[in-house]
């Protein structure tokens, strides 16, 4: 029942995501007790595409916390933390990984990613199925979720049961929502970035509450959105600091953590994940540990800029040999909650490094997610036409155009290249460790912090065609600003 089409609204071409649910999601009261029925629309399962799949039926062990956490995910889906007057809302995505349910959403401003993992401890019921689909969220459902009390158990059904599907003949609940390319690209980018994160801090509940409450709330359009803060673990607590000292995590646009306020009461701990040794504003993931659940919010490096331009994706896409590997690996995935790289390497007959590159590439196509708490990928297929966004990556397209125009000239020694753009040239330099750098203004500003520029991409495309080893074996390291910008402490001083 899922379709992605392009509609012509006032002359502008825009992709539209269409949902078709059997009925609205709701909390229903019956003699058997309360039941939270989340309706599904269009999904991928091991058995192929299903219109209204069913993934779970059973009880939530911590109903109030789960209801609050689901609301937090829905909040992010409905929010724009930048230019909030524009509205955009795509329904959350649910993935059943066999032993757990994952609810994911991505804000309309493309700067905040939320995921609720309901783990085996949080569920009490039938087996959890396998697959990915959209779930309906509507206002009456939100209202009902706020009214959930602690006294009685809460039944959860993800998807209609089979009988309902076969006998259904009423009108479907249909929704059509714009699906911007930028949004899709950003969603995929979060997974590529998260794979480079490590645990930076963990604080107990009381400190977590104190810290999260001390953050500025910031109304709409306030300048708070522009300030990047740094946070560093100090003893049992987190301390704001004015600059990226070692061990610090960036907290850009702290008001975007507002969704966590909903679950503070049930928090057991707060964990923070971020890239190693950051020097400039960077993305970070904030995870609240709940009874039997984990709620993770990931923030882009700046409230005014979404994930889509972070540049991890084009680097992954530019290496052509990963494409075939990715196709091979994707066949082997079956909604595992944790993907074991060594096992995949054995099954596919590829080296572990190539499997990792293939997984990164799958991440860019929305076919894989990354769980920072487990430090592992998990299988899920975004129920969108993610390949389209991937193919339309502006920087990659520009790089292909440069290659097609014959603008790239490699120097004889292979140590540098000249890219002719219009009436001028840019020089791309290949360093000893195979990283590329460029003379263009964009590179000068970000120095790899947002991935390679189009000139560097074009050069690596040409180099990979000519059989020179691909510039970046590990695109994640490439996306890490620290890798290039920060000299390590062991390097010698100027002589």
């Amino acid at each position: 029942m899922l379709s992605v089409g392009r509609s012509n609204v006032l002359g502008m071409t825009q992709a539209v995501q269409a949902y078709a649910y059997l009925r609205p999601s709701a909390v229903r009261e019956s003699s058997a007790g309360r039941s939270l029925a989340l309706e599904t629309s269009g999904g991928a399962t091991p058995a192929g595409a299903v219109s209204n799949p069913r993934f779970f039926s059973g009880f939530l062990t911590a109903p109030v916390a789960a209801a609050a956490a689901l609301l937090a995910v829905a909040d992010v889906a409905a929010a724009r933390y930048y230019q909030p007057q524009l509205r955009a809302s795509l329904d959350p995505v649910v993935t059943a990984n066999g032993d757990r349910l994952r609810f994911e959403s991505f804000s309309g401003c493309c700067g905040v990613y939320a995921r609720l993992d309901v783990l085996a401890d949080g569920l009490d019921g039938d087996d959890v199925g396998h697959g990915t689909t959209n779930v309906d969220v509507n206002n009456p459902l939100r209202d009902a979720l706020t009214r959930i009390g602690p006294s009685d158990p809460l039944h959860l059904a993800v998807g209609p049961d089979e009988l309902e599907v076969t006998t259904f003949d009423g009108p479907m609940v249909e929704k059509k929502v714009p699906l911007p390319d930028r949004w899709l690209r950003g969603f995929a980018e979060t997974q590529v970035l998260a794979a480079g994160f490590d645990l930076r801090a963990e604080v107990p509940a009381a400190e977590a509450v104190r810290f999260l409450r001390s953050l500025p709330r910031g109304g709409a359009g306030r300048s708070a959105a522009r300030t990047a803060q740094w946070v560093v673990p100090a003893g049992r607590t987190l301390r704001p600091t004015s600059r990226p000292v070692p061990g610090a995590v960036c907290l850009p646009g702290p008001e975007r953590l507002a969704a966590l306020q909903r679950v503070l009461r049930y928090a057991l701990a707060l964990r923070v994940y971020g890239p190693p040794a950051v020097q400039s504003p960077a993305a970070a993931a904030w995870e609240v540990v709940l009874p039997g659940m984990r709620l993770t919010l990931m923030l882009s490096p700046d409230a005014s800029r979404g994930f889509s331009g972070e540049g991890g994706v084009p680097a992954a896409l530019a290496s052509e040999d990963a494409a075939a590997d990715a196709e091979l690996v994707s066949v082997l995935l079956a909604w595992e909650p944790r993907i074991d790289v060594a096992e995949l390497a054995e099954q596919s007959g590829l080296q572990a490094a190539r499997v990792r590159a293939a997984l990164t590439r799958l991440g860019t196509a929305g076919q894989i997610g990354y769980d920072t708490a487990e430090a592992a990928y998990f299988h899920r297929q975004l129920p969108y036409d993610a390949g389209r966004a991937e193919a339309q990556n502006p920087r990659l397209r520009a790089a292909h155009a440069l290659v097609a125009a014959g603008a790239v000239r490699l120097d004889a020694d292979g140590g540098s290249a000249t890219v002719a753009v219009d009436d001028h040239v840019q020089r791309v330099r290949v360093a000893a460790d195979s990283t590329l750098s460029c003379t263009c203004l964009w590179w000068a500003k970000y120095r790899g912090g947002r991935g390679p520029c189009k000139h560097a991409l074009a050069v690596s495309l040409v180099r990979s065609v000519r059989g020179v080893p691909a510039a970046q074996a590990d695109p994640v390291a490439q996306a890490d600003p620290a890798a290039q910008a920060v000299p390590s402490e062991t390097e010698v001083g100027v002589r």
């Binding site: 006032l10 000068a444 500003k445 000299p487």
Partner: protein, 889 residues
């Protein structure tokens, strides 16, 4: 005339007749031409008359036989930006279309987003069509918004559009409106309608406003009262802007739900307890009343308390404790529930409220029975240590306290980043120069700037042609030109050197600095720091162009700007080997940067230098480099006339100024004129202040005197003072870097940190806290000195006590209780002597906490005096607590 010609002639009536005369196929055929005309008219909008637009809109509405295309046309610029939507001709054409076409157009147009504010010009037409066609009333957000605004403001409609209920007051308009029962429930889904829900503003009384009218609609049975209340509660729980929350709360109050209605919706009210303060307060009041009437399930009181006591608002928590107390008094059988619920406030951030909770528990403990004791003492671990003794007395069990002696937690001493090897190729230099220029004037990284400058000199010496070629892509977008004298010299002026290398700087600009003061990098707003930088850049440009030196001497070895003596000696030895004479500015800067050393190997190597410059450097290193100057504290008189008052400069604002002066030091070795200016004696007035746009203190300034932070602090003190006194943003950001620099930490540095702790902006205060902790971690902090300075600044009004309390609280919370105590122990006497300052209680509370945790002892007379005053003020109470801690054991 053809249809197009009629449109061009702006003959609206003609267009209507022509459209009527054409067959559908002929009309369709006109569409491409109309679109082309639309494009044509759009280009030169203003030169065409409004009537032309109306004619175009009418023609399009008539010719688009596909309803969706017609809806797009009507929503396009042709209609929206013109008066077409109120033209009778447009209605005429639309009404001649088939009913099905009209219905589709209505549905499509109802989906168009409503304007952000004000009226929608096409709404009257839309409502008219809905009424005349009898199609289902649209319930989209946009349609409801437009309907709501139309009824609120009741703007006049054109005569040919009718059907809207008439009336001077909102009630007349609504009571006769067939749309109202359908659209009123949808009002609760609209965002940002709070302000208008309070309207119409001109209404005589509340009965004529929306709130009153909605209640009356419910009374008349036109809308369902229960549904209204439900939707209102749901809307409040869903959250939204303050404005909206206030309006819907008012609406809820207007409906005044009966106790019976509340009882049926008790779960909705419980949900409101987690909402923004005014909503939560209302729900708390309603539920309290319900409980007093005996209509609330006792279980729900526990649930409500859990939600409310978790909140940080004192008023809510106080009210909840009161409610709990009353419930247990009324029915002692509920005591056990009440004491367990009240224990939920033991972890509250405010120790006062913890005490209240403890009192409630104490009052009902006997009635609750001993079964609750284990749970209570477990909860008591969250209590502030000040209350532990009381809790132990009450519960008869020891409260777990962290065992072992107190350990002070300070951040690790930061290790400055090392400067990597020099740039290896011309291409690298180009990239680095580009990166430096891509930043705003003062933002470029010190290491990046210094390496790029060195790289330019180095590679110009090796192969200037190759470097020029490599720089081409960078210089193509960065043209150098003499900027005039209204800026200070900054890292961006690296462009001058790069352009000079490429031969793009005219000779007179290169020669001017060598011959006199007319440098293109200097002007009347150049600071001493800017002058020092300018002298290096002028020299580097000239030497790079003439290829006289192979590399620079002054390039630091660490990010602070420090230069290892061994490295400087090596560089000088290389100069001697190549027979090169150093540039005076370069050598001066190198000498200012060199780290004092007593390493015999380095000193011996220095002795082996033979050239004149080498001998100078050797003597300099031998005596330990630039001598440190001792600062002398000074207070500037209020209204002291500024030393140099010219346009573009401003002096200290009126008032007392805490500052310091330095006498200067005799130097055996002469430095360059600009370097001498940096370290000359100062009275404490510092550099003249320039208007902020030319004043950009940056890490590059710190890197000029990396081993003399006291001198730096003094010369930049007015900037740091501005963060608190003038509420400027950002200058405190340099404080941590200053704390990481080397050299003695004297009065000026402590004063700078003191100003920073009272900065206006939180991020500036956290920078000052960083500096404080770095100083403490390096063992360089003089706590009593900082404490006395703080007391003086608060007394003179230069620092506000609430900002200071916030700073010291966050410094202490990181685990540095002992450090903060040493500071506050010296601050308190000054603040409490004679008349205690306002806000002293907050500082006393932090001090008490620090003293308790770091087990500080020793009476402070001023604290004892305040504690002995009697009375129930918070100041006296906090002083009493502190006195108790200091007197213990």
């Amino acid at each position: 005339m053809s249809l197009i010609d009629l449109v061009r002639a702006a003959d609206v009536q003609g267009v209507v007749q022509e459209v009527a005369a054409l067959t559908p196929a002929q009309r369709r055929a006109c569409v491409p031409e109309l679109k082309a005309l639309l494009k044509e008219l759009s280009v030169e909008r203003r030169t065409h008359s409004g009537e032309q637009w109306v004619a175009l809109a009418v023609a399009g509405a008539g010719c688009n036989t596909a309803a969706t295309a017609a809806a797009s046309w009507l929503g396009g610029r042709a209609v929206v930006d013109s008066a077409a939507s109120v033209s009778p001709a447009l209605l005429d054409v639309i009404e001649r279309q088939p009913l099905e076409w009209q219905t589709t157009v209505i549905a499509r147009m109802a989906e168009r987003r409503a304007p952000r504010w004000g009226w929608s010009s096409e709404y009257p037409l839309l409502e008219h069509l809905v009424r005349t066609t009898g199609c289902p009333v649209p319930t989209t957000d946009a349609f409801v918004t437009n309907w709501f605004r139309d009824r609120t403001w009741y703007r006049a409609w054109p005569a040919h559009l009718a059907g809207r209920p008439q009336g001077p007051g909102l009630w007349e308009r609504l009571s006769g409106d067939s749309f109202a029962p359908l659209l009123v429930p949808r009002l609760f889904d609209l965002a940002d309608i709070g302000a208008e829900l309070d309207g119409p503003w001109g209404a005589a009384d509340d009965k004529e406003r929306w709130t009153g009218c909605l209640v009356r609609l419910a009374e008349q049975g036109l809308v369902d009262r229960g549904e209204m209340i439900d939707r209102c509660l749901a809307r409040l729980a869903r959250g939204g802007r303050q404005n909206d929350q206030r309006a819907f709360l008012k609406l809820l109050a207007a409906f005044a739900p009966t106790q019976d209605e509340i009882r049926q919706r008790v779960r909705s009210y419980l949900a409101l307890l987690g909402c923004p303060t005014p909503v939560a307060e209302h729900a708390q009041q309603v539920l309290t009343d319900l409980d007093e009437a005996g209509l609330l399930d006792p279980e729900l009181l526990a649930e409500a308390s859990e939600t409310v006591l978790f909140r940080s608002e004192k008023k809510l928590v106080r009210a909840q404790l009161l409610w709990l107390d009353r419930a247990a008094r009324r029915d002692p059988g509920r005591s056990w529930q009440v004491v367990l619920a009240a224990a939920g406030a033991f972890g509250h951030p405010d120790p006062d409220l913890q005490e209240r909770a403890l009192k409630v528990v104490a009052r009902h403990l006997d009635a609750a029975g001993s079964g609750v004791l284990p749970e209570l003492s477990a909860a008591a671990t969250a209590l502030n240590p000040a209350h532990h003794r009381r809790a132990e007395e009450l519960f008869g069990l020891a409260v777990d306290t962290p065992a072992g002696p107190y350990v002070e937690l300070l951040p690790p001493v930061p290790q400055p980043r090392q400067v990597p090897a020099p740039l290896g190729s011309a291409a690298e230099v180009a990239e680095e120069v580009s990166a430096v220029l891509a930043h705003d004037a003062g933002d470029a990284d010190v290491i990046a700037f210094e390496r790029a400058l060195d790289g330019l000199v180095r590679h110009a010496f090796l192969d200037r042609a190759a470097l020029t070629e490599a720089l081409e892509p960078v210089l193509r977008i960065r043209r150098w030109s003499a900027r005039g004298q209204w800026w200070d010299c900054t890292a961006y002026d690296l462009l001058y050197v790069a352009a000079a290398v490429a031969g793009q700087v005219p000779a007179h600009h290169l020669l001017a600095p060598l011959q006199g003061p007319h440098s293109p990098l200097r002007g009347r707003l150049t600071t001493a720091f800017g002058g020092q930088l300018a002298s290096r850049l002028e020299e580097a440009a000239w030497y790079a162009l003439s290829g006289r030196i192979p590399f620079l001497l002054a390039t630091p070895t660490s990010a602070t700007g420090a230069l290892e003596a061994a490295t400087l000696v090596e560089r000088l030895a290389a100069y001697e080997a190549q027979g090169v004479e150093p540039g005076p500015a370069d050598l001066s800067q190198a000498l200012l940067r060199v780290v004092p050393t007593r390493d015999p190997g380095v000193l011996a190597a220095a002795e082996r230098l033979t050239s004149a410059a080498g001998r100078r450097a050797a003597r300099w290193i031998q005596v330990g480099g630039l001598p440190n100057q001792a600062s002398v504290r000074a207070e500037l008189e209020p209204d002291a006339p500024p030393s140099r008052a010219r346009w573009g400069e401003y002096s200290w604002p009126d008032g007392d100024r805490s500052t310091a002066g330095q006498p200067g030091v005799p130097l055996d070795e002469l430095l360059s004129a600009d370097s001498m200016r940096l370290v000359r004696p100062t009275s404490g007035r510092g550099e003249p202040r320039f208007s902020s746009w030319s004043y950009l203190p940056s890490p590059h300034w710190l890197a000029m005197l990396p081993n003399h932070r006291e001198e730096l602090a003094l010369r930049m003190l007015h900037g740091f003072a501005g963060a608190s006194g003038m509420e400027e943003r950002g200058s405190s950001q340099l404080l941590p870097l200053l704390a990481e620099a080397d050299g003695p930490a004297g009065p000026a540095l402590h004063l700078a940190v003191a100003y920073g702790l009272g900065a206006r902006f939180p991020e500036d205060r956290s920078a000052a806290v960083d500096a404080l902790l770095v100083l403490a971690a390096r063992g360089d902090l003089d706590g009593p000195m900082l404490g006395r300075e703080l007391a003086g600044l608060v007394r003179s009004g230069e620092v506000k006590s609430n900002r200071l309390a916030d700073s010291v609280r966050s410094a202490a919370d990181t685990g540095a209780y002992g450090t903060v105590w040493t500071v506050l122990a010296a601050t308190l006497p000054g603040l409490l002597a004679e008349e205690p300052i306002r806000g002293g209680a907050d500082l006393l509370a932090v001090a008490g906490d620090c003293a308790r945790r770091s087990a500080a002892r020793g009476e402070i007379a001023e604290v004892t005096a305040v504690a002995g005053r009697g009375g129930s003020s918070r100041l006296v109470k906090e002083a009493g607590l502190l006195r108790e801690v200091l007197a213990a054991g």
